[in-house]
């Protein structure tokens, strides 16, 4: 989004200047300049999640990477792709689809770029099959806060040479280094994809359905739940060869009696249960809930009055509520944190109106925070990369 009106601020924080580098070298030069001037730097790809997490304490320089939008290399025979960070995920998918391949991560918000998805570790239904960016990323080029260009990983899937710095960058919200290029492993596009959807009544029933599918031999490619008012459903995705999907669908039908079946991607598949295009005070309170698998019913109960959608089969749900009354948010958050915390997980406020972010703890309790600070201190000792956006004020 090169729109001046949109780039003038980041989640209510005024931007000093916008830079639109087109290469790793240009990013490095810009960051060296910023380091010299002691200026804070906030990175943006497609801008679809620019307001996620805490607003930065300052944004002297906004690094808009939307000009770095090239697929650098697609080695189809090796099932890998390298793209610049500002490349829209959709463009990568289109590129590799020509070879019958896909980057197995969902575009949860239209317009998301590779770098943005990586920096927020955003994921959708496909995570059940392939994990998230953390599992798909095999190599990365980054520019450090001091302007030094460094690479980690490589171009082969199997590689244990040195530390996996890429994993640290995934989900780091631009607070450790600026990712300029990334290499991912790809997967083949399956010949057949079939979705089976069945409504459920109680939270306990949802959990039973999910557990039955996981324990059976249907090898789900995704296993989602969605709750929107009275509409409550579990959806199972099967992928594979025609005969294989037929066989598994038959087995699944016994577990999900009355399920409807389709080979068309259902509406809203892989999207969050909130409107990501809303801005400012119109934003919903967007939550990410994690928990151990057997706790699904408890979590659904605790989130009963919220819109919910997510990967029940992986222990990750997204939920939303209105942010109109900031004071109403904290008690809900406390309740959800108590339940998810008890069940081995956490609740993070991904996005919310400013008034809500001011009154709640967006990140919640974070174990090993001291070590995280030490990592930040090493990578960005002056704390100039997206200062304050991340956990513990990092």
């Amino acid at each position: 989004m090169g729109d001046a009106a949109l780039t003038a601020e980041v989640d209510g924080v005024a931007v000093g200047e916008v830079a639109t580098p087109c290469s790793t070298d240009e990013v490095a030069a810009t960051l060296r300049g910023a380091a010299g001037g002691g200026r804070s730097v906030v990175v943006q790809g497609g801008g679809t999640k620019r307001t996620w997490a805490m607003p930065p304490r300052s944004a002297d320089l906004l690094l808009d990477l939307s000009g770095m939008d090239r697929v650098v290399e697609h080695a189809a025979g090796d099932l890998i792709v390298t793209a610049q960070a500002g490349t829209p995920l959709a463009a990568v998918q289109e590129h590799v689809a020509a070879a019958g391949q896909r980057l197995l991560v969902d575009e949860t918000i239209p317009g998301s770029t590779v770098g943005g998805v990586l920096a927020t570790n955003a994921s959708g239904p496909a995570r059940l099959l392939a994990g998230t960016m953390r599992d798909l990323l095999i190599g990365v080029t980054m520019v450090r806060a001091d302007g030094v260009v460094a690479r980690a990983g490589g171009k082969v899937v199997k590689n244990v040479a040195g530390y996996d710095v890429g994993k640290l960058l995934v989900g780091s919200y631009g607070t450790l280094a600026v990712v300029t290029e990334a290499t991912f492993r790809l997967h083949p596009v399956p010949p057949v994809r079939r979705w089976l959807t069945v409504p459920f009544g109680s939270a306990t029933e949802a959990q039973r359905l999910v557990q039955d599918v996981l324990a059976a031999q249907v090898v789900p490619a995704a296993l989602e739940v969605a709750v929107d008012g009275d509409a409550r459903s579990v959806t199972l995705l099967l992928e594979g060869r025609g005969a294989g999907v037929d066989g598994r669908a038959q087995a699944a039908a016994g577990l999900l009696p009355g399920a409807t079946s389709t080979e068309e991607r259902p509406d809203g598949w892989g999207r969050y249960p909130w409107d990501p295009s809303a801005t400012g005070d119109d934003r919903a309170v967007a939550l990410k809930l994690t928990f151990r698998l057997s706790a699904l019913a408890d979590v659904l109960e605790a989130a009963a009055d919220l819109a919910v959608r997510g990967s029940a089969g992986a222990g990750v749900l997204y939920a939303s509520m209105s942010g109109d009354e900031p004071a109403a948010v904290a008690p809900v958050l406390t309740r959800l944190r108590e339940v998810c915390g008890r069940h081995g997980g956490a609740v993070v406020v991904l996005d919310a109106p400013a008034a809500v972010k001011r009154t709640v703890d967006v990140w919640g309790p974070v174990p090993a925070l001291d070590l995280m600070r030490r990592v930040k201190d090493e990578f960005d000792p002056d704390r100039r990369l997206a200062p304050g956006r991340f956990v513990g004020g990092i």
Binding site: A75, R144, V165, V375
Partner: protein
Amino acid sequence: MSPLERLTDRVRAQLPGAAVITDPSRLRTYECDGLSHYRATPALVVLPEDVDQLAAVVGACAELGVPYVARGSGTGLSGGALPHTEGVLVVTSRMRSVREVRPEDQRAVVEPGVINLDVTRAATPHGYYYAPDPSSQQVCSIGGNVAENSGGAHCLKYGFTTNHVTGVEMVSPDGEVVRLGGDAPDAPGYDLLGAVVGSEGTLGVVTEVTVRLTRLPEHVVTVLAGFDSTDRAGAAVSAIIGAGIVPAAIEMMDALAIEAAEAAVHCEYPEGAGAVLVIELDGSQAEVEAEYDDVVQLCEKSAAFEIRTAVDPTERALIWKGRKSAFAAVGRISPDYIVQDGVIPRTALPEVLGRIAALSEESGVRVANVFHAGDGNLHPLVLFDDAVEGAGDAAEEVSRAILDLCIEHGGSITGEHGVGADKAAHMPKMFAADDLDTMQLVRCAFDPAHVSNPGKVFPTPRLCGEVPGRRKGAHPLQEAGLAEVF
């Protein structure tokens, strides 16, 4: 008293007598790991029984500036568990309990000394298993697997240790017990767990591991296909991957490796084969059957001259026997050998195998190839006879040249055995100085004093600037009122 003597006193006071070893002859039994030509006798060996004892040892090391090295089962092939002569070897072999198996959460929680296969054994009655399956799985420890990010034949489809570990408890190099991750995925904050897995014991000692359990497949088919050359076998691999099939495993052995396996375990692989592929398909019965037909057809198209199919466990074990025994079997045809571990993009296989053959011819050093063909992870076995003067050096040279080939083709110097003591010197060939410097920022954050497995992975340690130590008071940002409202 020297720091080491003070440390020994402290450790004796805190650990049971049997858990502290100082007797020189017993110390010597720990002098090497699976890479036995690197040897060093540790000054002290401790075998803690729980995290408190282990943290006490590491805490004392931190305080007195004594280096320590963690050791699981000592099967590592890169000298990662090579002891420090002036330091402590912390062995996890008394921390072997499987604490929890929870199929409903697809998780098991185990102590670090637990043997890889024992996790699967504990989960199998529930219909689950632990997917990463290094060939050493009957002996290697989960702690070692976490440190090396170990893989196995089946990681082509299922991924490596890093994709199957959701949480650890560890003792950081300053002696503190920390938890990273847990049962649920995506713990908030930096993915420190992702950095710790594969860090070869340089970021701390793992004291508990939470692993993901995978549903046992309904159906498994193993195919053995014989080809007259590695080129033809390689073409079959490409065809299978190109057809959108992701087998659980695709392994290749060349003629020399087959000869060795035949001599050792009589696996009766197709006679006269220049290469064999072991291809395993697993999943739901319907899916596997659909894929199987395609795989057989693709092998035939690539001129496989013999194809055998095994469905029941005994038949499958027979096919795998040759592959699984390959490393040891090479001992039958050569008194000594080096196991190399390098990775290339899979499409470079024909070219690189050709170059390895040429290297072998020029030098007169025989090389047997056994490898994970699906992901381009080569395990060339470089054969030599140490009794012959200069043979060891010649083999070393060929082995190094193979690594150079891997780098030249955009690959890696190690796919699963790790860098350890053995390949630290190769790191600058694969990474620029700034890349290595950046990795070591992580080291500096965790272990600024370089006490945790020093000298491994990196050729030259980075100076960590000021050693931050433990932060006792408030964080500077907090004091400045800039951060942490909460």
